[in-house]
Symmetry: C2
Subunit: 402 residues, 2 copies
């Protein structure tokens, strides 16, 4: 029987506990520190930001996760502990040390993630009391509060879970994510945590996560900026009792597909909640000479400020789509490009066609907008998700620190 | 004696006439078609957009200017004649044909440039009557109206002129430009026209223009998008009577410097008038391993939406500067980077330092903001100019077509 539980999804899989507490990092008094815990040893895999400037928790967690196993993660919102020098590294380590102490784990089994303002050091007294409180309040029911505690300017928690059957065993996967600003593909992106009770080898988990992220978090863009703190982590503790997955075929393929789905649903929610977003925009490029080329072309459109403001203004200005495409880092043949909004063709062979502006406006008024581009250069297709660029994006980002 | 005449600068050099007329392309009835004419044969050099999608006038003019000479240019604003297929190419050619007819020039001596909405075809009846009127009204005094006719969402005309002495002869240079949206470095960028009465060979003019653009229009960014219509053109008719310049040393160096100055002043005005801009921001990166690396690092900062919105909000959020830098396509050493607003250091060795928020706010409240970054990786320095990202950028671009 398929069971899902989106709210509190991070503790949907067997053997995971979580908690979220307020320790004073957020000025509004909301929860700002979360701990995620596996009751038994777990395989761990993670992807991190490709920004050359990596926050202290990214540096520490990437070293530790190389072992392929972890038991707990501590996450704080409100302060990114980025560009904080040696003190930042010491603080990140201290956070894991405190969690290890309270949970009776070796510190190397604890990972850490932070999100928030860059360039400020953590108030370690608040963090220490937050860690103590969060360690004490770990429960199966704590997933929901954990998902809220990791948010910054997000307006809702992002959670998703699913169940698959492997050899007669129900295998559960659940995840939570945090997005809003600085979201751009080709990076591990934002914060994403996925837990599963699947039995899976370290290597297989690593491969499955890389594939899932490549088809989800790497296919979204909100503002073209990439954070110093991005991190996506998967923990698998084997409690489902399935035959251990060791590769990506057979059961591994089914698991990989489910993991991709969880990541896609989380990524989708991140775009829906993009800073100031009024629209969810799907840019699909087909006819590409390769998946990578199609994705690069779709990204060139999805990251164009002129395109994104036109979408906010519900303006069927397809010229901006073509122009953005012309700036893509992959060869196109301008004379072959077709553009459509949903099924309404607005340009053919790179040139203007007669179309109903009223119909176009009808499509662009929708909350979800579909842009379809055909390059006519091959068989590959890619979809990138983005949001529009609105007044509120400016408002939120003009005064984020204050 | 040094004479300058910024207003009407495009006809400041001897032997150039210009005109600007309204032919109905702009809804507000303002001038929208300009002709620029050299009374005698002129060397010509130009740079064009690197967008893979090139508007019809770009395709035509780039073919023609390869000969190294031209006598006239016709420019229209309000319709870009881009993504317009075969009809667009025919229309562009027809425009030069009409100008040649009215001025008694072979059509191959006439270049064409267009700016405005992409994907619409030119109303050729209006264009034809505009060309006829503009051909009839060419005068030395027409430079000022020509500079206004090439504008779109610009709020003021961009003009600059200067005079240099070469072997006892006064050599004049003047230019006009059109900017506002879709302004991004590494492209010939927007529309820029420079006239000079210098005697200079085709090759030397080409070299001098390439160098000038590399240090001016290639160092500015407003929204990271690059138009399909960008073009910078220089015409030199030799009327000054100086000894013909054949290279970039001696007189050639002085000429090249003056041309660079004209291009820089025009580029500066383009940024000042960036769509919705409230601030002129100078990002200087020093300590780069090469000029190109320093410029790439400066561009990474100057094109970050998060950085640009923080500047609009006068928020000393230097973490966004470091984060943007970390996304640059050149290697940096995060632990070595220093950041300052004017002379106020806000980060050292990639990490937070104590600084006066009040002082920072004072600097960020200014109309002109200076960001200084030291990579400590070498001896090279580059400066990129940009604007902030404001509510008005969204407003202007959300409904540009209507």
């Amino acid at each position: 029987m398929k069971t899902t539980q989106h709210s509190g999804a991070i503790t949907f899989a067997k053997g995971f506990l979580a908690s979220g507490v307020a320790c004073g990092l957020k000025k509004n008094g909301k929860s700002d520190l979360a701990i995620l815990y596996s009751e038994s040893p777990a395989s761990a895999a993670a992807l991190f930001t490709k920004n050359q400037i990596k926050a202290a928790p990214v540096v520490l967690s990437s070293k530790r996760v190389a072992s392929g196993s972890a038991r707990a993660v501590v996450v704080n919102a409100g302060c990114a502990n980025s560009c904080t020098g040696k003190k930042g590294m010491d603080d990140a380590q201290k956070m894991t040390n405190l969690v290890g102490h309270h949970l009776g784990l070796p510190e190397k089994e604890v990972l850490v993630a932070s999100t928030g303002v860059i360039g400020r050091t953590l108030p370690m007294d608040k963090i220490a009391s937050g860690i103590e409180a969060a360690s004490r309040s770990l429960t199966v029911e704590g997933g929901e509060e954990a998902a809220r505690a990791i948010l910054t300017t997000d307006t809702f928690a992002k959670e998703f879970s699913t169940t698959i059957q492997l050899g007669g065993k129900a295998v559960r996967l659940g995840g939570m994510a945090k997005g809003s600003g600085m979201i751009h593909p080709n990076m591990a992106t934002l914060l994403g945590f996925i837990t599963t009770d699947a039995a899976i080898s370290k290597d297989a988990l690593r491969q499955a996560l890389a594939q899932a992220v490549d088809r989800s978090f790497h296919c979204i863009s909100i503002d073209g900026d990439t954070s110093t703190n991005d991190m996506v982590l998967a923990l698998a503790n084997g409690r489902a009792g399935n035959k251990t997955i060791t590769g990506l075929s057979g059961d591994g393929a089914a698991f990989s597909q489910a993991l991709t789905q969880v990541c896609q649903e989380l990524a989708r929610r991140v775009v829906l909640d993009g800073e100031g977003a009024t629209k969810f925009i799907q840019v699909t490029v087909k006819g590409g000479p390769s998946f990578e080329a199609a994705r690069a072309a779709a990204k060139a459109i999805a990251t164009s400020n002129l395109f994104k403001t036109a979408m906010f203004g519900m303006d069927a200005n397809w010229g901006r789509i073509l122009s953005a495409l012309g700036n893509a880092p992959v060869p196109i043949n301008p004379a072959k490009v077709d553009v459509a909004f949903s099924n309404l063709t607005v340009a053919k062979d790179g040139s203007t066609v007669n179309f109903s502006e009223a119909k176009a406006l009808g499509l662009l008024k929708r909350k979800e907008v579909e842009v379809h581009v055909d390059l006519h250069l091959g068989k590959f297709e890619a979809t990138v998700f983005t949001s529009d660029l609105s007044y509120d994006y400016i408002k939120i980002n003009a005064s984020y620190r204050s």
